[in-house]
């Protein structure tokens, strides 16, 4: 620092001079006010969380009362007849999230291993931020790109290929005509989840003590055997927590999914259109035809909130246990 003003020590001296000159009453008042403001801010954060849970459940009471838990399995969603069931949305949610996790977990961990173990520091400091930059792309841009660039490619090249290669699996059906569908949504979610898993896992892998890695190498382990035998086992809980955080992101993504999933109304195969809980809310809320439909969308939001919070709390619990374990075994 060049100026004396910004130097903590000189700031301290100036403060001390002023404090001794000022009355104690002002200081006591200042302490109390600042403390009060901080407590207020903390309470506001708590109130926001409680308010979200209350309002969303409150909005859903009508639908919860009408459909009960059957809402989760019924697949009819017909605003005209005031019949609503979330089966299609929950199916879409499960399929797209599963596809995203299936791809993103191995890719994310592989990237993390590359960054932490293989790449020289110079390269790591370039590629690491680039991977994180992938998470900074707004979802609406990713969805726009998904429907105009990725989807045509998928429907003309990738899906016919997958259909002919592994089409015997019942989940892969005929290629879609537009490219909009569950498969495209799953891929877009993969792009969103990979940087989350990769950056958290990389930080974890970098914390593995060098002596342990050296020990494995000294015993004659190759680099991969060292990863398998030392790095992965000692960080596994943290990596699982990272995956849960990624899952939470995939479950809750509304806009990008709404753009590429094609707003399907039935349970269909992978290349066909579908819906997820979040995308249905984004697509239908403003155009809701009656209060029951709006309330059913709130019901979907309750389900999303519950699954999302469970994923988040699981990640937190794992992290806490992991850190405590770490601290004790060090």
């Amino acid at each position: 620092m060049s100026t004396g003003e910004a130097n903590p020590a000189s700031r301290l001296r100036a403060l001390a001079a002023r404090s001794s000159a000022s009355a104690g009453a002002v200081d006591r008042l200042g302490d109390a006010v600042l403390r009060g403001l901080c407590v207020l801010a903390a309470l506001l954060a708590l109130a926001a969380l409680a308010g979200i849970a209350y309002e969303v459940i409150d909005g859903a009471t009508l639908a919860i009362g009408r459909f009960g838990l059957g809402f989760l399995v019924h697949t009819t969603w017909q605003p005209n007849f005031k019949v609503f069931g979330a089966g299609v949305m929950l199916y879409g949610l499960a399929v797209t999230s599963a596809l995203a996790m299936l791809l993103a977990v191995p890719i994310g961990i592989a990237i993390a291993l590359y960054l932490a173990m293989v790449a020289p520091p110079r390269v790591r400091n370039v590629i690491g931020p680039l991977v994180e930059m992938l998470a900074a792309i707004p979802s609406v841009i990713l969805g726009f790109w998904g429907i105009l660039v990725l989807a045509p490619f998928l429907s003309s090249d990738m899906e016919p290929f997958l259909h002919s290669a592994i089409g015997f699996l019942p989940i892969f059906g005929e290629p879609s005509s537009t490219g909009a569908g569950l498969f495209t949504a799953g891929l877009i979610l993969t792009i969103m989840v990979v940087p989350i898993i990769a950056s958290i896992s990389r930080d974890l892998f970098l914390t593995v003590p060098q002596e342990m890695k050296d020990g494995a190498t000294a015993l004659g382990a190759t680099r991969w055997e060292m990863v398998r035998g030392v790095v992965l086992p000692s960080t596994a809980p943290g990596v699982v927590a990272a995956c849960f955080l990624g899952l939470g992101r995939a479950l809750g993504e509304a806009i990008a999914v709404a753009q590429v999933i094609g707003d399907g109304k039935a349970i269909q195969k992978l290349f066909e259109t579908g819906n997820t809980a979040a995308s249905a809310i984004a697509l239908e809320f403003l155009g809701a035809e009656n209060r029951l439909q709006a309330s059913s969308l709130f019901y979907l939001a309750v389900i999303l909130l519950v699954i999302g919070l469970i994923a988040n709390l699981t990640a937190q619990a794992i992290t806490r246990r992991f850190l405590i374990h770490r601290a004790m075994t060090r």
Binding site: P8, R13, I111, M133, P138, F298, A301, L309
Partner: protein, 322 residues
Amino acid sequence: MSDLESTSEGGTALLDPPDHFDDLFASERLDPARPLTASRQLRRRQIFSRAMESTQTAAALLAVAMLAFVVYSVASRGASVLSFEFLTAGPPAIEETAGGGIGPMIVGTATLVGIATVIAMPIGILAALYMTEFASRRAARLLRMVLDLLFGVPSIVLALFVFELIVAGKSESGFAGSFALAIIMLPLVARASQETLLLVPQGLRDAAAALGVSHWRALRGVVLPSALGGIITGTVLALARAAGESAPLIILSAVFSRTVNFNIFSEATPNIPVYIYKASTAANPYGWARAWGAAFVLLLFILIVNIGARALHARGRRKMAR
């Protein structure tokens, strides 16, 4: 072939001595002068290890390629639309025509994010101060958990919450959108501030106390200024995140006019994310062209902010460490 080659398979070779460990040395055939070359087993393990490293490298390249692909797609289509008129004019009266621009959306997004920052920044900093300076360890951990959970709430759920709270029974409004964006920014600002405040040396606080400086003066005069850089970086990153957030705005500030308006309490504010979203749902190449331009402007802003914040962050860390 030598005995070294017949060691037991794979990983167990690391832990257990080979079965014939004893007669390895007893053996007449073991020649001390034999050159130490890798056995076929070892070569296989090494090749496998190399293969895994290549896979990992390929995964990293795939991610970077994906980023390059998306950025290139947006830039190549968006840059050609860019002009002074595009950045200042409103979209044409009929969406299915060429020309026009996204001026009102740029102004609107700046307004929405600005108001959200004004709401989220003080609350976030105070919450962080509470965690680092005032709260017991238990209370701090609880608040940290609350902030993490708040961060984990899907933004579309947040949109419904704010809809019930502010919009229901009235009209959409830009303020409702800003309010939702502020809730998204709050945990980001608070966590970034907390992390920076924790980096401020405890000695500074002790020194202030020893000199008889009251707590709030010490925080205002010593602790906060020392942490200011990190707090601002965190806030700007949160701001960039909020600028691209679309889910709340699609519910709270979606039905907007083609002109700049600042009636944030009674009207929806035009904004870039919703404009792109609407273009993606219509089969209209002219709208797509404008949306690519809008996406380019938004992406450019977000990437520049991210790169800048990263550079500042790295410099700040180095300075703190000194």
